[in-house]
């Protein structure tokens, strides 16, 4: 009925008192604080100096960045930004990539905000309509769109294609594998174990090489399929194995009684898994799942080894451009890549923390 909510009591204290209490409460803490301050003093001014004060922000080629005491060479980034985002995707067709991006964001944002209603419809849009639309828009060859071979895809767009496909497909596949590994049917259990142990045991680089170099050797003459597609399959199968083990950890945390209660009510195996066990199991392992997602996101850079140019590959590629060859260009390029990846991964990490917090407040155990 009426519910009494108690706000946490927050003491109002002065800044000096706060500093004393939190930073200098004991000799050991004082030493730590001083050491940390020294480290900050060492790193931050130097970083700012390089990235801002000594950096060049405008210019048309390498001459702008050849000063005696040169910092970051930002024009290298701004000048090539188009390539970094779209790769070699034809310039006059870039609107298709942009449209895909907008369609994706339009579906993702309301899905991520808990208060927005129509979650089921929204999920249907994201898992049904969006992938189809994205596929048609990006690859073309249909509905009056000129075909764009995946060899021209690149940059951040390719990073997102590989990462999103991997993330969206590896979770359900991982769940099925995790259930399989706990199955009572020996054949299914054996298959799941072999699958998981095989994919976990080989490095992703090997998988990608196999997919792009070895696989065509096994296929009959004349049968080819897209290199990007092969990479997508490789990345998905690979991360599904990791996902399966994370999910299995969650499944093990659910008491047997939950499934017994579901069975006693007449729910079948898939019903009790889908409505009772999996939702609870996934809640337990959100940190592990997001950890795997982040790992996958960063591993997309490895497609470089089979000749696909994601964001990192594109930057690397442009470094060899003589027009921008300066001592500061590589550092600037790598700093840019690192920053973009960090923003994406940090975003995922923060979002997962907010979900965890919300689930805790949800009143469920």
């Amino acid at each position: 009925m009426t519910q009494l909510t108690l706000a946490p009591v927050r003491r109002r204290i002065s800044a000096i008192a706060w500093v004393r209490e939190n930073l200098f409460s004991s000799p050991f803490n004082t030493v730590l604080t001083l050491a940390a301050l020294y480290l900050i003093w060492l790193v931050v001014p130097a970083l700012l100096d390089w990235a801002v004060f000594r950096a060049t922000f405008t210019g048309l080629d390498r001459k702008a960045c050849l000063g005696a005491d040169q910092g970051a060479c930002w024009p290298f980034i701004t000048h090539n930004l188009g390539q970094f985002i779209y790769g070699h995707y034809p310039e006059e067709e870039r609107w298709r990539v942009n449209t895909t991006f907008v369609l994706g964001i339009a579906g993702l944002v309301p899905l991520m905000i808990p208060r927005v209603p129509w979650k089921r419809l929204n999920a249907l849009y994201m898992l049904g309509f969006f992938p189809l639309a994205a596929f048609v828009l990006l690859s073309g060859g249909r509905s009056g769109l000129s075909p764009v071979d995946t060899a021209y895809w690149g940059g951040f767009m390719l990073t997102l294609v590989v990462a999103v496909t991997g993330i969206v497909l590896s979770l359900p596949l991982g769940i099925v594998l995790a259930l399989g590994r706990r199955s009572r049917l020996p054949l299914i259990r054996l298959f799941s174990v072999i699958y998981i142990e095989f994919w976990r045991g080989v490095p992703l680089v090997t998988v990608l090489f196999m997919a792009s170099v070895m696989l065509p050797l096994f296929l009959p003459q004349g049968v080819t399929f897209d290199k990007l597609l092969r990479c997508l399959i490789g990345v998905t199968l690979f991360s599904a194995a990791y996902m399966a083990e994370v999910v299995r950890g969650g499944l093990q945390a659910i008491p047997r009684g939950q499934q017994e209660a579901a069975s006693a009510l007449g729910l079948g195996y898939w019903q009790s898994m889908w409505f009772i066990v999996i939702p609870q199991a996934l809640r337990h392992v959100i940190p592990g799942i997001v950890n795997t997602f982040i790992g996958l996101f960063k591993d997309t850079t490895l497609v470089l080894v089979v000749g696909l140019f994601d964001l990192f590959g594109m930057v690397q590629f442009q470094l060899s451009d003589a027009r921008w060859s300066t001592p500061q260009t590589p550092t600037t390029g790598y700093a840019f890549v690192a920053f973009v990846f960090w923003v994406c991964c940090f975003g995922m990490s923060r979002y997962s923390m907010s979900i965890e917090k919300r689930l805790k407040q949800g009143g469920s155990k």
Binding site: G257, A264, Q280
Partner: protein, 261 residues
């Protein structure tokens, strides 16, 4: 043995009732250890049975075999004439008609009380959602906690959770209710509220099998008390006889222990 069963079931106008649950020569092993030995038990429609016995005597295993949470290895179990076998369709038929209440409640913690109650009717009985909600609210009234409908199980007391669990089972409109030590995990002050609900249910004519140590409850509502030890049914009788004149030494020893204070 069989004599006493027949005699007991003929009491209290159950003479014309038909058998709801038939268990004939049922045995079960865990590896080489036999947990249930040649169990024979017929339960009539509307009959209330309390199963008592020391821990490890196989009471819980027995009633868990009735809705096939455990499989039996020998003998026969039939509910409403449907024999339990490996045939999953039959198991589904039986589980739809048999409700169960567990010692640890086993409510679904990620769902509200109302969602706990409507899930199975909607999924299994294909009941429209609105109707399922109405039914759920009726049963929550009956267990006297309608005001908790939108809370999560974790926000309720143990007694309240167990009452929700009873309501959840009733929402499937079962013909038989199994209770597996429903009050053993509860704080003493909450036992009564759960027993009251169970007594109300018994008075409504529900066929019930309760594994419990609540002998007061057994005296009050049971048509028969079944005493188990070492995986066997040692004796079964109407409560008046069972408590006043236990025939077996083991029964006597057990009763002395639990009734001594």
């Amino acid at each position: 043995m069989m004599d006493s069963l027949e005699k007991a079931s003929s009491v209290r106008d159950l003479a014309t009732a038909r058998a709801k649950i038939e268990i004939d020569g049922m045995s079960k092993w865990y590896g080489t250890f036999q947990v249930l030995k040649d169990i024979n038990l017929n339960v009539l429609e509307g009959e209330r049975i309390v199963i008592a016995g020391p821990s490890g005597s196989g009471k819980s295993t027995l009633i868990r075999c009735i809705n096939r949470l455990e499989t039996h290895d020998a003998g026969r179990i039939a509910i409403d004439g449907v024999e339990l076998t490996d045939d999953l369709r039959r198991v589904d038929v039986v589980r739809r008609e048999v409700g169960m209440v567990f010692q640890q409640f086993n409510l679904f913690p990620h769902m509200t009380v109302l969602e706990n109650l409507t899930l199975a009717p909607v999924l299994v009985r294909k009941m429209p959602e609105a109707e399922a909600r109405d039914v759920a609210m009726q049963y929550l009234e009956r267990v006297r906690i309608p005001e908790q409908a939108n809370k999560y199980p974790g926000q309720l007391s143990g007694g309240q959770q167990q009452r929700v669990a009873i309501a959840r089972a009733l929402c499937m409109n079962p013909h038989v209710m199994l209770f597996d030590e429903p009050t053993s995990a509860l704080d003493p002050e909450m036992i009564k509220e759960v027993l009251d609900v169970m007594i109300g249910l018994a008075e409504s004519g529900m066929t019930m099998l309760c594994v419990t140590h609540e002998m007061g409850f057994a005296r009050q509502v049971a048509d028969r008390v079944v005493f188990m030890d070492g995986g066997e049914i040692i004796e079964a009788d109407v409560p008046e006889e069972f408590f006043a004149h236990p025939r077996n030494d083991r029964t006597r020893a057990f009763l002395q222990q639990i009734l001594s204070h």
